[in-house]
């Protein structure tokens, strides 16, 4: 695989321009994080003199809640990416250029992952910062900045967003309708959060090792998904609804 950074940059720039001019997407990206921010902020001010187990559960649930953001925010963008281009008739002109499929897919992924991870990191910073400054109980402040949690926040946000994006694009390459793609994409992006939920529920004991191991697994999953999505991106199928590879194998076998 050979990437041309000029073409990649052109796709990313176009995606950003389209994103920032879409009020619906911008509204979703702005409102959703605020909603997810409310509960932890209230709890930071409210929790005081509670048992350690309650504080630990609060830290776990906050961790899980904030990690939903980098999963959900890019899911809709990614699910729209290919089927949306096809619906508005812009996919064919793109495919007539020297653009390689990997460049197109990576460009779209970068444009979705950057704002998602940026928002996620901002939320982590706000919650952790407010906890350090305003928490009524010092135990709450220290629970939110445990090393395992910080490593998890830093690593899981981009990797979960990556997973969500590749799943969304995979669905988008096969879907024929934007709404179906967005619903399926959002649903399919959620499973990795199950592991985070197990940590939150204390089924898995949180530790730096566990966080790194999970991050490694997510990284491998992201790379594998990228390869799968690349192979699914078939120009002929996207334009005609029929796969060139399948037609070739049928010819070879006959």
């Amino acid at each position: 695989m050979r990437l041309d950074l000029g073409r990649l940059r052109a796709v990313v720039r176009k995606e950003f321009r389209v994103l920032v001019r879409n009020r619906f997407i911008i509204g979703t990206m702005a409102v959703l994080p605020v909603v997810f921010l409310l509960t932890p902020m209230i709890e930071i001010f409210r929790l005081s003199g509670v048992p350690a187990l309650v504080v630990q559960r609060f830290a776990g649930s906050t961790f899980l809640l904030l990690l939903v953001v980098p999963v959900v925010v890019p899911a809709a963008i990614a699910a729209y990416s290919v089927v949306g281009e096809r619906e508005q008739g812009t996919l064919e002109p793109l495919l007539t250029t020297p653009l390689r499929r990997e460049e197109l897919l990576l460009g779209k992924a970068i444009a979705a992952i950057v704002p998602s991870v940026g928002i996620a990191y901002l939320l982590f910073a706000i919650v952790d910062g407010c906890a350090q400054i305003f928490a009524a109980d010092p135990a709450v402040a220290s629970a939110l900045v445990q090393s395992s949690q910080l490593v998890g926040e830093l690593l899981f946000a981009p990797l979960l967003a990556g997973w969500s994006i590749w799943v969304g694009i995979a669905v988008s390459t096969r879907a024929s309708d934007v709404r179906v793609a967005q619903q399926l994409g959002t649903l399919a992006s959620l499973p990795p959060l199950g592991v985070v939920a197990l940590i939150d529920l204390q089924v898995l004991t949180p530790s730096v090792t566990l966080a790194l191991a999970f991050a490694l697994a997510l990284l491998v999953a992201d790379v594998v998904m990228f390869r799968i999505v690349s192979s699914m991106f078939d120009r002929e199928r996207l334009l005609t609804g029929r796969s060139a590879a399948r037609a070739a194998s049928r010819r070879a076998s006959s």
């Binding site: 000029g6 720039r13 002109p93 250029t97 020297p98 530790s207």
Partner: protein
């Protein structure tokens, strides 16, 4: 074409495992990765997390190297008989003669495309000279758009071969071919939330153009849209969008330009503007492959036309097709029906036969209309007829088209 150095930061080793840094950026990434591994191992030396973190860093490094690498092999030798791709010239190329001699811009040899049981086109062969405006006609479902997509490397032909802009058509050559051609689909497919210039900036980036701003200005001037560059495409009329599509197709100064029904859905004025643009392209020496339903358009614009109906029915200049399909004839109109038309026309030199479909109108099949017309006039005057008009019968491209399509069993089933 501009290539960023980042595309070659690493080379993939042919023997052994791994990647070798090929540029200073590659070495910098390698140094950062090594530093990160050492730091992680030192900081977390008392924890089991140390080796795991080092593995994560290493995996990330190899991921980056894989993305930004090229195979460590020599470039393949040029294909025998195929000319190396010339550099892309600026949009404002000096005017050139229309069709020129030399290597063909497009050579299609027994090309077939099937979708399962359905045949889009079959056993199609033709060639297009550089600078030629070539019309590709046919009824709905004849395979015109599929042919454009196949020649544009968007879909793979089932069998046969082709050479597009001097490059053999194959999946491996797709990127190179697409660099040297441009395709304007029936729907221009613009990003409506972006301005005209932003739309063109995207494609200038995808073609790796040098000085994209100047090229965009030239392309917009070529389609008379210089003043509309900052308008959002969503605010443009369909005709103007079509012009933006044409400007986009002009950006990379293609060797072959495929225009798929460029005037579809346009009003007569907008269609006329597109015709003028295509004539402008012809004068600049651009090879244009034009698919259209509009036969008047093809007749006015094209040097040659091909009529496709799954199979190629005919290829040639429109006058050649007329001469092949229709016998030459004179149309005679008199003030009153002749008493003995057989006696008048049979004695006239050069008249082979005649028929009358309505009173006082006669269609004469002749060997040479210019020689036969004076003889027929003299015979009519001698017979005492009042001659209203004598004219050579004209067959339009539409007549040619209908003649070819009507005799085609495929069309009859449609």
């Amino acid at each position: 074409m501009r290539r960023m150095s980042g595309a070659r930061w690493f080379t993939r080793r042919q023997v052994g495992f791994g990647y070798r840094p090929a540029t200073w950026q590659g070495w910098a990434v390698t140094a950062v990765a090594v530093g990160a591994v050492v730091t992680v191992l030192l900081v977390l030396r008392k924890s089991a997390a140390g080796p795991v973190a080092a593995l994560v860093v290493a995996a990330a490094y190899f991921g980056i190297a894989a993305l930004l690498s090229r195979p460590g092999r020599r470039p393949s030798p040029p294909t025998p008989g195929v000319e190396p791709a010339p550099r892309v010239a600026p949009v404002a190329t000096p005017p050139a003669a229309a069709p020129t001699a030399g290597p063909m811009a497009l050579v299609v040899d027994h090309l077939t495309k099937r979708f399962g049981e359905r045949t889009a086109f079959e056993d199609v062969s033709f060639s297009v000279a550089p600078g030629e405006v070539f019309g590709f006609l046919g009824p709905n479902g004849a395979g015109k758009t599929t042919m454009v997509r196949a020649l544009g490397t968007l879909i793979a032909p089932t069998s046969g071969s082709a050479v597009v802009a001097g490059i053999p058509l194959s999946a491996d050559n797709g990127t190179e071919i697409r660099q040297r051609i441009s395709i304007m689909p029936e729907n221009p497919g613009l990003y409506l939330r972006l301005t005209v210039v932003e739309n063109l900036q995207l494609f200038a980036g995808l073609y790796g153009l040098r000085k994209p701003a100047a090229r965009i200005d030239q392309a917009l001037e070529a389609v008379n849209l210089g003043a509309r560059g900052r308008d959002y495409c969503g605010s443009l009329s369909k005709g103007l969008r079509q012009r933006v599509g044409l400007a986009r197709a002009l950006l990379n100064d293609p060797a072959v330009m495929f225009l798929d029904e460029p005037t579809s859905g346009l009003d007569p004025v907008a269609a006329r503007e597109v015709h003028d643009l295509i004539n402008g392209l012809r004068q600049r020496g651009v090879t244009v492959f034009l698919t259209t339903h509009r036969l008047d358009e093809a007749e006015r614009l094209c040097d040659r036309v091909a009529i496709l109906n799954t199979r190629l029915r005919s290829v040639g200049r429109t006058d050649e097709l007329r001469a092949t399909l229709f016998s030459r004839s004179l149309v005679v109109e008199t003030a009153a029906p002749l008493d003995a038309p057989d006696g008048v026309f049979a004695t006239s030199t050069g008249v082979e036969s005649w028929r009358s479909d309505q009173p006082a109108h006669y269609l004469l099949t002749v060997t040479d209309p210019r020689a036969a017309a004076p003889a027929v006039t003299r015979a009519l005057v001698a017979a005492g007829a009042d001659v209203v008009s004598i004219a050579e019968s004209r067959h339009s491209l539409e007549d040619v088209y209908l003649e070819l399509i009507d005799e085609d069993p495929e069309a009859a089933r449609r």
